[in-house]
Each structure stands twice: as structure tokens, then as C-alpha cells.
Amino acid sequence: MYQDISVPESESQVERKQVSSLMEAAETIRENAIDLAREKMSFYEQEAELAILLERRNFVEYFKYALAQEVAQVIATYDQRVQAVYLFEETANPDAGTEDYLSVVDLTVHLLVKVTSASAALEAFVASVDRALTEVLHELPSNRFAKRTSYLNVIPITETDIEEGRGYAVLLSSIYARPLRIWERE
């Protein structure tokens, strides 16, 4: 009979494994988002070099949207309390929302995450995903992605927040800055 000689993993080993799997997840998010954004482009742009596409506003907007979708999936898979995820933009006044055509898109992914109850674990997980995502997005061939320290702005909201119109939950009934629902639990 063999004796079990395996040594329990140390905390730092577990942490390294988690970081490594988060980095892999972040890389998958990035690659999927690039593929999804390419699909949205015209056929003659789809084969263009990534560096060129990342200078095009329409590609960057699609890329951001695809990132949001991918992140929403990851968050919802991690935490069963997540009921729906919405993408929103920060500026509320439509009269002010018509910046010059070539101006930089706000690259931050602003998400409202509807949860059955708030949890510190979810917040910590989101922070980890953000760190990993920021690191892998720094590898993109574009200066605008290189200097950022964060990409995710995730705001958890509950049914009570929505009913009482608390904080950013008020956006769900907004007339002027309405978010898009990008994921919902079946």
C-alpha cells in the first residue's frame, strides 16, 4: 500500500495558481473580444493589423463592448448571485454626448451588476479580474492601452437599490442615460 506523500499546497502556491488562471482568463477575454470586434468590421478591414484597427474608433467601440460581454460572463459564472449585467456610459446629458468624431473613446467598461445580495467576495474577484485584464491589455499594440491602470468599473446593485432608485441603480430607469443589458441569468 502506497503512503500518501503529497504535501499540502502552501497559501502562496494557491495564490500563484489563482493568479495564473486569472491571467489565462484575461487573455481569453482579450482574444475573444478582438475576434468579436473583427467580425463587426467590414470584410476588407477584418484582416487588417490589430495596431491599425486599434486606431479606429468603431473597432475600439466594438472591442470595448465585446470586453464587457466577456467580463459579464466571467463574473456571472463566478458568482451565482449575479442576475444580470448592464453596460452604461458615464455621461448623462445627451446634449453633451457628441464629442468630436476622432476623440478618444472612454475605454473604461462601466458595468452595473444586479445581484441578489452584495458580497465582498465578488468585489475582490472583480478587482482581481481588473488587474489581470489591465496587464494583458497592456500588451496590445496601442499606446492608448499602455498607460491605463484600470479598465473595469463594476457597480453591484440589488433589487432594493433599483426599487428605491439608490445610487447608480437609478440608471436602470433612466430616460437620458439608459444602460444596455448585456447578460441575464436564464
Partner: protein, 436 residues
């Protein structure tokens, strides 16, 4: 007296939101009619949109499948000039919502005395689900289908939720191709290269700053002594705060964005903060590293700071019954649309807090839209400084007129603004008479 204003009330997310919004708008409109003693005929005309168009927009998707989207364009009134209003792309767009927003555009243009009526349009679609080509085909087909009622002297669309200068460029190009002539005046919010206006990006913030300073002057306060807090550091709040500080010498003591806020009663280092935001796009105020002289506060705390002026320039329904009695500012300038709920508005009025209503305070955007249209009609384009001068003059004149109504009728500025707007629309209809 307190007159609840014609503003949309929000309801929980659902497809009937437009119905509730329209009902509220019409109820409030009636209370203004009563104050003005308008005759039944005029009431009936103003209560209804002048023209509505619903279109089924077929789009061939990249996979070859044809899908049909429902689009709307509602012209509430052309009594005072061509109809003006944005076009939104969103899954939850319905006719009632578009009707209510068109009515609000009529009033917004009237209060600033722009020679426009009001309109609104939209397509029920999730634009992020469409490819670039699909989005262009959708826009062009929709533009062609509503084109019979569009035109520089009929109805002039602009961007709104999920639409942008590029979509406006497609709009303009479609109309120009069908008409066989370049028609930049058919939409506003275009790229500068295609007849868009200089000075648009800071227009709403600049208008907010102008209203703030004018309000303070009328209350006998020197703007330079004033402590101001701004909620929201986006397109409205960012420019309002910076213009107030740099051009009028105000002391900005509190600002916030979605991540939270910063406070220093002696004044914030706005230049450094602005550089931080400009050089780190998307980074939040919470990540700004101060030298220890700034307090970090929440958005809620910012609203109740001990300041002279509060500018909510973020999102709707921020001043509510839960915090209205704790607002310490003497002046509240509504940079965002609808930041104060009806109930909170009543509390603020009872407490003697002066509110510059959104319909007036954030009209800078539509004023610069008007200036863009004028430039396109004349093929003569203004420098940014000239646009700013014109914007300043229009805002000041509007403020003066609203103030006069409030003084003469002894009502608050919000009520005065709506009253003035309805009166102007009523007079235009009355003077034009009924055709035939």
C-alpha cells in the same frame, strides 16, 4: 407657489416606461395651461404631437438574413420653427417615450427662444449587436424612410443615446445623395469636417457655468467668493467646474465621479486634477494621488457638503426626499437632466434653495446645435471663441427672461421656465392661426 414641472418621471425598467413618462408630462402640462389661462383649442394643439411617423426598417444582415426594426420620428410642434431633437438607438424605445421627449424638446427650445419646435426619434434596436455595415445600412434606410418629413427647414435630428457624429454623417450623406445636393443643415452633431460646430464639446458645461454665475450675481453674491461642489466629472461636470474656476474665479471645493469624490474646503487643485483626467482617460478620481490635503468622500456626501452652490451634473434623481432636507447649498444648478425628483423639488423650494432648472441650465448643447445649423445654412463657420460668445449671449438672455417671469409672477425658476416656454409656443400657434 410651487408648480411641479414638465419632467419625465422614471419607472422601473420595462417597456411601458414611455407611457408613464408621457402621462406625467401631460398632467404637468395641464397645470401650466391653467396658470396661463390658455384656451381649449391651444391646449389641445400643444397636448398632442403634430406629426408621427412609424417605420418598419428592413436591414440585410451580414449573414444574409433580413431583419426588420421599428423606427419612429415624432414632431411635437413646428409652430416656432423647424422641429429639433435627437435620435436614439436602444432596445427599449417606444412611441410614447419618443412623444414625451419630443414635447420636452419643444419646451427646451422655446425657453431659450431658439427658433425651433421639438421632435424626437429612435429605433428599437441594440446597436452593439450590429456590425459596422449593418449599423450603416440601418441608419441609411431609416434616414431614407423618415426623409419625407426631414429637412433643414422641417426637422433637424441630432445624436442621442447610442448615436454619434458618425451616424449623423451617414444621415447627412443619405439625404444629400437622395436630394442630389449637399445638405449639411439636415442634421447637427456632425463631425467638424462635415459642417459640425466648434465649441460643442464644452457647450453644456459652459452653459451650466454661465447660469451659475448669473444666478449668483442676481442674488448679490460675488462668484469669486463662492464655494462650489460638482457631482459628475464627465462632459458636463468637468467643463462646468473648470470654466467656473478658470474664467470666473470660483472655488471648486468638491467634485465626484462614479468612483466617489474629493473635497477640500480651501479649493481643489483643479489644474492638477484636470491634467490627471486628461492624461489618464478613464481613470477615476479615487485613483488621484493627492498630497494629503484632500478628503475622499462619497457621491452622497458630496451632495450635502457645506457649500454655496451645488451642481448635480451626473445622472437623474440624485436629489430625493432622502437627502433634500440635508442639502446645504443655497443655489442648486441642474447640470444633468432631471437630477431632482418632484418631491425633493418641493422640499428645496420650501427651504428657500434657489434651483436653476435643467431645461435652462443645461441648454448649452442645444444652443450650439442651433449655431451649427445656422453655420451650415450660411456656409460660414465660426471660430470656437465666436461660438462661445454667441452661446453666452443666448444663455444670458434666456436667464434674464426666465428670471423676469419668476419675479413678476412670484414663482420659482422652474415653474417660470416652463410657463415661459408654453406661453411662447401658444403665442406662435395663435399668431399663425389655423390653416386653412
Amino acid at each position: 407657489m410651487i408648480l411641479t414641472a414638465v419632467r419625465p418621471t422614471s419607472v422601473a425598467e420595462n417597456r411601458d416606461s414611455g407611457k408613464g413618462m408621457l402621462g406625467t408630462a401631460l398632467t404637468q402640462l395641464n397645470s401650466i395651461f391653467n396658470l396661463l389661462d390658455l384656451n381649449e383649442g391651444l391646449r389641445a394643439i400643444i397636448s398632442q404631437p403634430e406629426r408621427e411617423l412609424t417605420v418598419a426598417v428592413p436591414v440585410r444582415h451580414d449573414d444574409g438574413i433580413v431583419r426588420v426594426y421599428t423606427g419612429f420620428r415624432v414632431q411635437h410642434s413646428s409652430a416656432r420653427g423647424p422641429c429639433k431633437g435627437g435620435i436614439r438607438y436602444h432596445p427599449v424605445v417606444d412611441l410614447n417615450e419618443v412623444r414625451a421627449l419630443a414635447l420636452l424638446m419643444t419646451l427646451k427650445c422655446a425657453v431659450t427662444n431658439l427658433p425651433y419646435g421639438g421632435a424626437k426619434g429612435g429605433i428599437s434596436v441594440d446597436p452593439t449587436g450590429l456590425s459596422d455595415f449593418e449599423l450603416e445600412r440601418l441608419t441609411r434606410r431609416y434616414a431614407a424612410m423618415i426623409m419625407p418629413i426631414l429637412g433643414g427647414k422641417r426637422d433637424i435630428p441630432a445624436p442621442d443615446i447610442n448615436t454619434n457624429p458618425r451616424i449623423m454623417a451617414w444621415f447627412m450623406d443619405t439625404v444629400s445623395m437622395i436630394q442630389g445636393q449637399l445638405s449639411p443643415e439636415v442634421v447637427t452633431g456632425k463631425p467638424i469636417e462635415l459642417g459640425g460646430s466648434q465649441g460643442r464639446i464644452d457647450a453644456t458645461g459652459r452653459g451650466v457655468a454661465i447660469s451659475t454665475v448669473e444666478m449668483l450675481r442676481r442674488l448679490g453674491s460675488d462668484p469669486k467668493d463662492m464655494r462650489i461642489a460638482v457631482q459628475g466629472y464627465g462632459n458636463v461636470g468637468f467643463y462646468a467646474a473648470n470654466i467656473l474656476a478658470r474664467e470666473y474665479g470660483c472655488r471648486i471645493v468638491g467634485i465626484s465621479d462614479v468612483s466617489g469624490g474629493l473635497y477640500n474646503p480651501k479649493g481643489l487643485p483643479l489644474t492638477s486634477l484636470s491634467d490627471f483626467v486628461a492624461n489618464n482617460p478613464g481613470n477615476f478620481l479615487e485613483s488621484y494621488m493627492s498630497n494629503g490635503h484632500l478628503d475622499k468622500i462619497s457621491n452622497e456626501e458630496l451632495l450635502t457638503l457645506d457649500v454655496d452652490v451645488l451642481i448635480p451634473a451626473a445622472i437623474e434623481n440624485q436629489i430625493t426626499v432622502n437627502n433634500a432636507d440635508r442639502i446645504q447649498a443655497k443655489v442648486l444648478v441642474e447640470g444633468a437632466n432631471g437630477p431632482t425628483t418632484f418631491e425633493a423639488d418641493v422640499i428645496l423650494q420650501e427651504r428657500g434653495i434657489h434651483v436653476v432648472p435643467d431645461i435652462l441650465a443645461n441648454a448649452g448643447g442645444v444652443i450650439v446645435s442651433y449655431l451649427e445649423w445656422v453655420q451650415d445654412l450660411q456656409w460660414f463657420f465660426l471660430e470656437a471663441s465666436e461660438v462661445q460668445t454667441q452661446l453666452h449671449d443666448v444663455m444670458l438672455r434666456a436667464f434674464e427672461e426666465v428670471w423676469s417671469v419668476a419675479e413678476s409672477r412670484q414663482i420659482d425658476l422652474r415653474s417660470a421656465a416652463y410657463l415661459l416656454a408654453v406661453q411662447r409656443v401658444g403665442e406662435a400657434i395663435d399668431q399663425r392661426g389655423i390653416f386653412p
